[in-house]
Subunit: 111 residues, 2 copies
């Protein structure tokens, strides 16, 4: 199984950057909920490319950087009856702030 | 020059996910400002790994997904006299919401 995600302006994907605000005492719970939702349901859906779960050092945020093949596939996931209970549970533990976007450019260290 | 960025829980990097809220009429200006700040200054600083500029489809956000080798390198950039004018200019065009975090796990499509 591929263990790396790539970000590239040439990738034909749409990106969902979802910043959840959470009580620090529940940050780990939210991380594990994202991991289970992804492994049990989301990554088996049509058009899923990747999910990448991040935790903030200050404890107050969990960020999911997710990639889907198309906007339509992402929208279909939102309405999927297997996905919806997970999405509702996630939103009970943290407050989501989703941004649906595309990569414009990537920049790397010189020399 | 490498044209792809890699997300992996094994990467020894810290990640700054910075979601800027912007007037849609100024989204493109903010994208270009990020690109210039990165190419002219940020990517030449010690500890810089990558910057990845995203624009939201709804026009109201620009997201920079950036990687630094260490938290210390990221903090040093914030105080760098060459970087500060760029950071101030960025914050005049959009409202930043930075999250300093680490990758917990990556997940990919099944089969």
């Amino acid at each position: 199984m591929m263990s790396e995600t790539t970000i590239s302006a040439d990738n034909p994907v749409v990106t969902l950057i979802n910043v959840f605000t959470v009580e620090p005492s529940r940050q780990q719970q939210l991380v594990e909920l994202w991991q289970r939702a992804t492994d049990e349901v989301l990554r088996h859906l049509p058009g899923f490319v990747s999910a990448n779960v991040h935790r903030s050092f200050d404890g107050t945020k969990v960020v999911n950087y997710a990639q889907w093949q198309t906007r339509e596939a992402f929208q279909a996931m939102l309405a999927n009856p297997d996905a919806r209970p997970w999405l509702e549970q996630l939103a009970e533990v943290g407050a989501p702030a989703p941004v649906l976007c595309e990569v414009v450019s990537t920049h790397h260290a010189s020399g």
